[in-house]
Symmetry: C2
């Protein structure tokens, strides 16, 4: 198999033909490239989100896997569970229009958007409450820290 040697990218001292620029990457490089751990890549595979080729027991990731990983990371970023991401990706059919997939994605996205907006509202609430109580605490602190010698007014 043709591998991209770590660090450089064109050693190609191996035997298998290059075949239309199909580049295989091992798990270490893949992880570095996308800022995830090896564990994460294996975990995603275990969950059926990735399906790299194998050279013996060694995982080899292609362009396709990279695209899928990008989608996973995007999904994760916008707050989808891996389960959701998988559901959506499982509907992908390279031979069709993927209307069903797109509709599902849109549906899930709308719900997720609503969740995110709720979350933001909650966080805004929290920020306000926290700010308020911080003000109160600061006030108590100045009252208790202020030189108490001239405090008795009666």
């Amino acid at each position: 198999m043709k591998l991209v040697s770590p660090g450089e990218a064109a050693a190609n001292t191996n035997d298998i033909p290059v075949e239309a620029g199909e580049e295989f990457v091992r798990i270490g490089e893949m992880a570095k490239k996308y800022g995830v751990t090896l564990r994460t890549l294996r975990f995603y595979e275990d969950k059926g989100l990735l399906n790299p080729h194998r050279d013996g027991s060694t995982r080899l990731y292609t362009r396709r896997d990279k695209a899928r990983l990008k989608l996973i990371l995007l999904g994760r970023k916008v707050g989808f569970s891996l389960r959701d991401v998988k559901q959506m990706m499982d509907l992908y059919d390279p031979t069709g229009t993927n209307t069903k997939q797109l509709r599902l994605a849109l549906d899930k996205s709308e719900k997720q958007l609503a969740r995110l907006q709720k979350q933001r509202a909650l966080i805004d609430d929290a920020i306000n409450e926290l700010s308020t109580s911080m003000t109160a605490v600061r006030q108590m602190l100045v009252e208790r820290t202020a030189a108490p010698q001239a405090s008795a007014a009666g």
Copy 2:
């Protein structure tokens, strides 16, 4: 022990004196009053956040416990962990100025505020990314759904 009978609040058919309006409430009422479950109250106690009196094995909550619970719920609302809440509450000393407690609370609050602001930024990012990709998906859908008979412009 004087109990507030469920539903009503002044039966007082028991023996122990009323003693300055100290009202004891059992776990069920306490839970209803603050919108938490029995499990939650026991859990908080197990974690050292609450310390209700006992009548035999029955928990009896006083005004003090209610105040503590309110603090816990406020802490939870602004995103503190129960561990943090406990740390802060443990510093409470009814005989002192509680300067240390207030300082700790302020310190933790500042950090929590920063976390909340970061979270909000992340959520805003997520909302933006999600909105963007939803637009793209909608676009793909119209392209694929639009009657394809007159699509060839060149």
